[in-house]
Amino acid sequence: MDIEEQYDKIYRYCYFKLYDTQLAQDITQETFLRFYRQGLTLDNDKELPYLYTIAKNLCIDHFRKRTVESLEEITEEVIDDPTEDLISNLTLRMTISKLPEDEQELIFLRYVNEISVTAICKITGLSRFAVYRKLSKSLKWLKEEMSKEGFSNE
């Protein structure tokens, strides 16, 4: 397993939780240090959920201290697409932000960091059935909301 790729994915996960670049990077590094201090390795997928659990717990620890950036600021920072894509992405992002936090996390883990459902179950403590059900419900809702806004994802 490529450690650099995992670093980027954990960083993205921390950023998704905290919306703070420096803090996300600090927590990513702390996550890896704690992971390796336990004598664990990333040679196979088995210990990957543990890496995410450490990151998640560290994010929760820092959660109350965070300063929430506004959605507009974040968008300015990360999106450099042409206008049409930018509007579509902004709409999608705002729609996703209306979802409950646990469903946002599921979508992030499954479709952004492309983690297996088995690993997601271990990270979130949900059953496979619950993960599939929540994902399918959220995606259906997202598609409907985006259609209402006049965007097609087909």
């Binding site: 040679d43 894509d85 996703i96």
Partner: protein, 243 residues
Amino acid sequence: MNNKLKRNIQKAFAAPEPNQQEKVRFLRSLPQPQIGMFRFILVQASYVRKSSRVLSCLILLLALFCAYSISENTLWVVSAFVPLLGLLAVTESTRSMAYGMSEFEMSTRFSLKSVVLARMSILGLINFVIIAFLTPMCCIGNDFSLLQTGMYLMVPYLLTVNFSLWIARRVNGKEAVYGCMCVAVIVSGINTGLHFVTDLIYQEIYTGWWLVLSVFLLIELAYEIHCMMKRTEEYTWNLSLTD
């Protein structure tokens, strides 16, 4: 889920790039965790090519078929195929050398020496188990003892492995693989040819000579492995010159 929605979700969750310098510095300073011997061997075993595993199983199945259908001729047929096991073991162990990746592997997490040794041990152990399994089957339909049959199977195997390792040490690149293939074919061919004089060479009075030959080949194998390990040390020296 359609790809467009997936792509859009990925874009919607895009995060600003992390500080690259800090990231690289951190990843370089990250201590690599120690790995246990058993786990290391398991990891190396997973790198053995599927084709090698399938061919080993095929040889085993062939022996089973022979034992079932042509019981009295099983020994010479199986001993003609055993060199192929040796060929698989040597080509698998010397893969990094055959494909010119030795120096690259030197810079990886585990040293080339330990990787080569681990792969040789894994393949050697698997082949030993296969030969140990084939031996009683080859006893079916003839009067040879287990020791005799074991030696009749081990000698062609060890001959192939020894000559192949010798070639792999002296010839670089893919030519070494062709050389090893030639050795396996020649040893296998000799075995097939010897089928017509089995009554002569498999006589009990020659058992002592077969034993001596087996022991000699085992010593020779230990020497060849030692030379192979020394050769990986030479790669380190080369690497220090080119750094």
